[in-house]
Homo-oligomer: 546 residues x 2
């Protein structure tokens, strides 16, 4: 197998290879990205979902390095968990490094990470992998894609990308570099599918700024812009437009404030002197001189925007002359929360601009024409759509066929699938064993389907615990105590509680007085009693004490 | 107050007056609609949300009748709960009556409902209310709006409506009737705001049929159409297109099958002979001769489409030559589930058509131009946007201002607000006390915020119950039993369990041996022990037995 390159996408839940991709050649492993996902609504109580490191665990000494394509959580968020298990050399651009440093410092594992700064245009040799990096446009500066030259051919991994001809040179899709790679010959292109359902090119960020100009010009009072804390280019636009309209800018929300401070210090935000003010200062200015940029565009209940909507933000009270811009796309699963906040803000009289009403957001991912451009420049022999869900992979594969790549050279992978790339071949090997790994509090991987199923039941109807006391000697039942939460409001259901006790008592005595026999009888008896009385199915547990 | 008409929108959660509106004149009450809502994702375990009948409760004898505008759940679903409390005369069109009969029969309260069939064009006097009904287009046939002539003026309530000039005459917006009402003079228009964010007219249903024609013509195998069980016009289109393409139609999903049978019997579906087949018969035909119309367009986990996607539908196995159309708009909160199902179907190789890819669905609600048409025809003195959320009300109010209604005559209500309409005036009175009423199993209104908060906590980290036994005489602690669910998988956490027991034992003994003192100590002790050990906050309860 030494003459095969093995490529394994991992993590990202429904999104293929979003969080991590392994490249394995002989006894050499290259890791691209190490990110985490936020849980879906039915992953009860889970804080994060990270890739399964099981396949790597007995091969850590083969890892030649980790390349991070950019600084977003879904590409860096699992690093602290991987670094707990092994020390690693991590290669990333300057801004990404700034963000990762904060992360590893917080986790107290800075000493496990050997951080190396790379930049687009550089070349780097890691074992058999001869790498070069090219800049891409994305919704955070300093993003890269990479070319991996291997003995079996050249592989290009796009990272998250789009084309935006109006961006600064340091964050622009490197068309010349891509054309040169295309000339060298590309065996396999792995490209970002996220935007494959959108026709056309993704509009340039500039259109958002134009929209902001119009909105700011008409706003009678404050302008409040909610967006992602990591969307630094949007923050820059808010600052630029505010400065032109003679407004001071206050930053609300801890993650936004941290990012702005870090990006300003590293030179990724250009902020005119005296433009940033704290919120107290902003509150002392005329509303028409104030902009607030805030977290909470996804409806996160504890973020700045949700608190403003609910009237629980101590510093910011929404007024009828406020103009509020929700400058973000709602991530599936968050619609209900975002919707509720928009309604609350409107009920407070504010002018809220969101969704399709005006172009207040553009995606960080390329649309169909961006994707076709990449294929045209690189002319790969094989094509692998990555980073999207199956629906995006499928559309991206259609585009690739339209661009002349024969269907048998289009490789639709799932997480854990293994592509074995030879000089003339690309075949799927035996998939590796992997699963989504749940982080819950301090626990990693200790919450599985059984616990989640219990949480789901508890979320619906709560629980009832019946404690049956046997009299000394264990020859008779002494009494029953009932405790319950999330089932009915027991203070108002004293009658039901008494009948539950009586029923448990009756059932407990109606058979052998062994612990196990009593608890089984009481559990089943109460379950059917409660179903009949209330139509509900709380989780019932019976315990026996002597 | 006898010379004032009081108008009170109720129910519908965020949507104003969606489920119910009260009209009160002197000691006479007219009820329009009596519907229910599906709960939002954070209404843990709740089955239905219904309007608060508290205000009506000591006035039931004043109710002159209930008018149902159409047969959808959000306009009829709470009837069984209101009929539990009082007998009522209910006026509705023929199809609506058919649907309501099924509902009251199932609830076993047919004898409480005096059902009266009305039809568009009819006039009906109920106490001081002189009513007439006009037909509207909506996504179910036989929908009506109503004009309420009262001593203080004429009120028009649009019901859910849109304009579709291609629909059958019995279900078409009655332009002539509306023009005539406009000529009579309209004091107040209460109009459906749901589509107020969409520019233009809502496209006619016909465009969906044209899309179906193209898809059916190209489909190599079966066509599977998922839509709402109540969307009979869509089912009719599927049947018509199937017949033209020589396909038999099988109906999957109980609610869809019930509705199709009822609508066919009542003449609301025109089905050519031998077109409907059962699924077994369909499975014996060549795939290119088969259409399946199914429930599950909202991603409901137990509905037909979800089972096909998961591979658990016993009769229907998805094949790569299947063409699947998701003919519905995703209701906010359901996106994650719908998305997952689309991905699963694509991974099974099917060609899935959804969302913006092709016009496979149109809304049942009017867009901005439909709404303007209604205002133009009726030229009301006062305007009240209803049936939408605040964001829709707000946009609808903007339209009304554009149409020349002065802002002070545009009445933005919340549920429970009271409009007092006089001959020359419209003023808000004291709001009535009302809340969302939760139905959970057999219980109505017995689950409130406290129980929901407990369910939320349980859904995140589960619970731990510690039972502390005192030795006979109560002078010493005998032992501790721990039971827990949804917290950690205890079989794999034996060590943690032992330490929990030891900690509970230690804390129990570290103070006075009264029940209350022990249980408080053990609860707090375990909470902080578990937070430190696991980073989680399960609900902890301590019980003492002697």
């Amino acid at each position: 197998m030494a003459n095969r390159l093995r490529i394994i996408p991992l993590g990202g839940m429904g999104e293929i290879g979003k969080n991590m991709t392994l490249f394995e050649y002989g006894r050499n492993i290259l890791i691209v990205d190490c990110g985490s996902m936020f849980p879906e609504n039915d992953m009860w109580g889970i804080d994060l979902v990270i890739p399964d490191f099981g396949y790597l665990r007995d091969k850590f000494e083969q890892v030649r390095g980790v390349i991070l394509t950019h600084g977003h959580e879904d590409h860096t968020g699992a690093l602290p968990y991987l670094l707990r298990e092994t020390s690693l050399t991590i290669y990333c651009t300057r801004l990404t490094r700034g963000l990762v440093e904060v992360k590893v410092d917080r986790a107290g594992i800075r000493n496990r990470a050997n951080l190396q700064t790379i930049q687009a245009g550089e070349r780097l040799r890691l074992g058999p992998f001869d790498l070069s990096f090219f800049s891409v446009n994305h919704s955070i500066p300093d993003g890269i894609g990479l070319a991996i030259r291997t003995p079996v051919g050249n592989v290009v991994h796009s990272g998250d990308f789009k084309l935006d001809l109006g961006a600064g040179l340091d964050s622009q899709l490197d068309l010349a570099g891509l054309a040169q790679l295309g000339g060298e010959g590309v065996s396999l292109l792995m490209a970002d599918s996220t935007g494959a359902e959108r026709p056309g090119f993704t509009p340039p960020e500039r259109v958002v700024e134009d929209t902001f100009e119009r909105i700011f010009a008409e706003a009678p009072g404050r302008v409040i812009v909610a967006t992602f804390a990591s969307l630094l280019s949007r923050v820059q636009q808010v600052i630029d437009v505010s400065a032109r309209h003679n407004r001071k800018v206050a930053v609300e929300g801890r993650s936004m404030a941290d990012n702005v401070a870090m990006a300003q210090e590293m030179g990724y935000l250009r902020i005119p002197p005296d433009t940033l003010v704290d919120i107290r200062k902003a509150n002392s200015l005329p509303p028409s001189r104030v902009t607030i940029v805030a977290t909470g565009s996804q409806g996160e209940p504890r973020a700045a925007l949700a608190r403003m909507a609910a009237g629980t933000n101590r510093q910011i009270e929404i007024r009828p002359d406020d103009t509020i811009i929700v400058s973000a796309q709602t991530i599936p699963g968050n619609e209900e929360m975002v919707n509720r906040i928009i309604n609350q803000l409107i009920q407070r009289g504010a002018n809220v601009i969101y969704g399709e009403m005006a172009q207040v957001h553009v995606s960080g991912h390329g649309s169909q024409e961006d994707q076709k451009l990449l294929i045209r420049l690189l002319r790969p022999r094989y094509f692998m759509p990555i980073h999207g869900e199956p629906r995006h992979q499928y559309q991206h594969a259609r585009l690739a066929r339209q661009m002349g790549i024969p269907p048998e050279r289009i490789l639709i992978m799932q997480n854990g699938d293994v592509l074995e790339l030879g000089e003339e071949t690309a075949e799927k090997g035996e998939p590796i064993s992997q699963a989504e790994v749940f982080v819950d509090g301090a626990g990693v991987g200790d919450v599985g389907p059984a616990v989640l199923r219990d949480r789901e039941i508890l979320s619906r109807d709560g629980f009832v615990v019946a404690v049956v006391s046997l009299l000394p000697g264990g020859q008779a039942v002494g009494g029953v105590q009932i405790v319950s939460r999330g089932f009915v409001y027991l203070r108002e259901a004293e009658d039901l509680l008494q009948r539950m006790r009586a029923e448990a008592m009756r059932v407990a005595q109606a058979g052998p007085l062994t612990d196990r026999s009593i608890s089984e009888r009481v559990q089943r008896g109460l379950e059917s009693f409660l179903l009949q009385e209330t139509g509900r199915r709380p989780m019932v547990i019976a315990l026996v004490t002597t």
